[in-house]
């Protein structure tokens, strides 16, 4: 018997239903078109942006992502629930995009090499700053609201080396955890950390160049 004071915990069937992605996938595989549309709506655009970090031509990135969805629908890819649906889907796209990038002789290298990302900050020999970074002309609040700065951050991201852009995209834009990024890209935790750090550092430098 349910009373008015009950909570969602007391009466789980009365809690607001947010269909989980796993449940959406099950429904889609059982022929529920709306469930599939909902999944595509959630992930198509992020997957497309991600695929573009491997294959630069938009039409080919589109093919890769579409093939991934088709693979899921046809049961060629089996979701074993060892990761979240999102991580699994990114991994499928990564593998397909990598295959295609190799065919195009355009391979994203995830090894970490010295690239001088941090040297630009100008430290003295004993590690002190030569000078504090200059202040930016806009407050964080205005930066986050302004339409022009959106283009600025997109351009900064675009200029990153491929491997750094892939990691920054997955971690910061898509919000994947470090372990999931390692899983999606088959890279070590150390490489993931270094690529993320260098990528973010360069994006900050690009913003600084425009905002100081």
């Amino acid at each position: 018997m349910c009373y008015s004071r009950r909570t969602a915990l007391d009466c789980p069937d009365m809690s607001p239903t947010v269909p989980s992605e796993d449940a959406l996938l099950d429904r889609a595989l059982n022929g529920d078109e709306d469930a599939f549309v909902e999944l595509v709506d959630l992930y198509h655009a992020p997957l497309l942006r991600f695929a573009r970090t491997f294959v630069r031509q938009p039409s080919q990135a589109e093919d890769v992502v579409q093939d991934a969805w088709v693979g899921v629908l046809r049961g060629l890819e089996r979701f074993e629930r060892r990761s979240s649906f999102k991580t699994w889907m990114f991994r499928i796209v990564a593998n397909r995009a990598k295959t295609r990038a190799v065919r195009e002789q355009r391979y994203v290298q995830f090894d970490v090499q010295e690239d001088g990302a941090d040297a630009a900050e100008n430290f003295t020999e004993d590690g002190r700053r030569n000078a504090p970074p200059r202040e930016w002309k806009m407050t964080p609040e205005r930066l986050l609201l302004s339409v022009e700065t959106r283009a600025l951050i997109e351009a900064a991201l675009e200029q990153l080396p491929d491997n750094q852009r892939v990691v920054v995209t997955l971690r910061d834009l898509e919000g994947l955890e470090a372990a999931d990024v390692c899983n999606v890209l088959s890279i070590s935790e150390t490489n993931q950390r270094v690529l993320l750090h260098r990528g973010r550092t360069k994006v900050r430098s690009a913003l600084a160049a425009a905002l100081e």
Binding site: A28, L29, G31, E33, F36, V37, V40, D41, L42, H44, A45, P46, L48, R49, Q66, W69, V70, L73, R74, G75, D118, E121, F123, D126, G127, R128, R129, A131, P132, P133, E135, W136, P140, L143, L144, T149, R150, I153, E154, L157, V168, T169, D172, L173, E174, G175, A178, R193, L196, H197, R200, T201, V203, R204, L207, A208
Partner: protein
């Protein structure tokens, strides 16, 4: 005591809250005392907020195309 260069190297992990407690506190202490690193940290934090916002702004795919895909490829 961490140097400014150490702090710059750790800023990304600090923002992720990925550092062991002792390290985290050492960075925090340095940030309290060093104007330059504090400014650098705030700019990195803003950068991260902008990247996250860019991720949230991405728009979805057209529902019609998803329906076409579904109808032509559904497993039976």
């Amino acid at each position: 005591m961490l140097s400014c260069r150490d702090v710059a190297d750790l800023t990304s992990d600090y923002l992720n809250r990925d550092l062991p407690l002792r390290r985290h506190l050492a960075v925090r202490l340095h940030l309290l005392m060093c104007v330059g690193c504090r400014r650098y940290y705030r700019q990195m934090r803003t950068t991260l907020a902008m990247l996250r916002q860019l991720g949230r702004d991405t728009t979805g795919a057209s529902a019609d195309r998803a329906r076409d895909l579904f109808r032509s490829h559904r497993s039976v």
